[in-house]
């Protein structure tokens, strides 16, 4: 089990070791200690390894993650799991702004709160936040699911494409072209699966509301030509 103490080991040693994991490797559990708010911890992992980060991290932790299961035993700075491709990233604490931004796949679980712009421009990632999310979350979100057990801040889902947003608490305001939608059986099934995978217990899918795109901003509207 490789252990990287970031109080002494260069960050590049950790990330290079993660990138060097070959197919069929046996030594697949990595421990990272003393992250002390370092940026870019465990970025670009590309193999089915597990990575435990013992403490809080700075910008862009677990960015571009593929296949790896990363657990941050602390809080994460801006851009955690940015552009994740697959695998899972679990933040035991809070996450700063733009968590899971542009993510293409995999599951991001934030057990505390997420700040502004959570899931901005998400493109297929699933994000489950046990707490609240800040303003402008899921801005221009294209696909995937954002599940929030707490409340959402201002302008949720502004200029949304086809991502599904599920919020259990209150929504301070909806962004342009984002509306509440009917919760159908297939949505309840998606939600039940995500809640189970995110370790959420005692919460029923029926407690959530679904929000999505009104699809009014998709195409240029000739009535607006004078505005340009």
């Amino acid at each position: 089990m490789p252990v990287f103490d970031l109080a002494v080991a260069p960050l590049r040693d950790l990330n290079a070791a993660l990138h060097a994991v070959g197919a069929g490797a046996n030594d697949t559990h990595f421990e990272v200690i003393n992250p002390r708010g370092h940026h870019a911890v465990a970025v670009g992992a590309d193999a089915p390894v597990t990575i435990a980060v013992r403490g809080s991290v700075g910008y862009y932790c677990a960015g571009m993650n593929s296949e790896a299961a990363v657990t941050i035993h602390g809080s994460a700075g801006p851009g955690v799991a940015e552009n994740m491709m697959s695998g899972t990233v679990v933040v035991e604490g809070d996450a700063s702004q733009y968590a899971g931004a542009t993510g293409r796949g995999g599951l991001l679980v934030i057990k505390g709160n997420a700040a502004s712009r959570c899931g901005i421009s998400m493109k297929g990632i699933d994000i489950v936040v046990h707490g609240n999310i800040g303003h402008m979350s899921a801005f221009m979100a294209q696909s995937g699911n954002l599940v929030v057990l707490g409340d959402a801040g201002e302008a949720l889902g502004d200029s949304l494409y086809e991502a599904r947003l599920f919020v259990r608490g209150s929504v301070k305001s909806l962004g342009a072209d984002c509306i509440e939608k009917e919760m159908r059986p297939e949505h309840l099934a998606i939600l039940a699966d995500l809640l189970a995978r995110a370790g959420v217990e005692g919460v029923a899918p029926s407690e959530f509301k679904r929000y999505g795109s009104a699809r009014k901003l998709y195409n240029f509207n000739i009535d607006n030509v004078d505005a340009y």
């Binding site: 708010g37 370092h38 700075g58 809080s75 700075g77 809070d94 702004q97 700040a115 502004s116 303003h135």
Partner: protein
Amino acid sequence: MCGIVGLFLKDKSLEPELGRLLSDMLITMTDRGPDSAGIAIYGAEAPGFAKITVQSPDPARDFPGLDGRLAAATGVTVELAVKDTHAVLTVPEASLEAVRAALATVAPTVRVMGAGASVEIFKEVGLPRQVVERFGIAAMAGSHGIGHTRMATESAVTTLGAHPFSTGPDQCLVHNGSLSNHNNLRRELKRGGVTFETENDSEVAAAYLTAAMRGGKDLGKALEGALADLDGFFTFVVGTRSGFGVLRDPIACKPAVMAETDRYVAFGSEYRALVNLPGIEEARIWEPEPATVYFWDHAKAA
């Protein structure tokens, strides 16, 4: 970018450590801005006396005998403590403005960095480590302080363009961000009699708060007004004689992390800046909300 830090001590036994803790926090933020750095320390007050921190482009010419020349010009005793390019003048409280006015004729190239009962401000072009070493910040004691390392956008990389900006007695401000309506605001404040040292946007924010507090608002109310009147990106950390405030604009894209324990309230642009503080493992750590005023005041503490 820019990196900003702040530390407001609740536990007096930490006061001898203030300079060292704040220096360490600021040095950690070096890669957020390499252009200039500065720190304001609220230190011990001597009843009846005020302090003026001044800076000179040519300390060897300006500082020797400056105390005597100011005393001759004003008729009051002036104590001079030189620290590299800066010097702290200690003067009778009632003569603060007279000494300040005399500086303009006695030493016209000397610039005032800040003044008040408590605050001392040191700032220069260069990296935080060099700047804090030049001024011996680590050895300074105090009740609270703020610091800044700058990546310049809105005005030149000069000593005067470095933060903290001080525009009123014992008041100072550090800023991460950029204001878009600073020219208009500057004109309005000038019309109200405020003078400016630079073309910098952050100085306008500092002067705005000074004007509001001169008008009778406390720091908290002044910061609430800033939300309505300042346009642009900002995370501010502000110090007053006994208070410490934090404000982020409603978009809140400039980072901020805070930590609070029984012993202190701390601010950092990033969590990295806070990791060496005593008891950080048990601190309550949070990201300040957008458009929300946070402030603490020793004078109002329960």
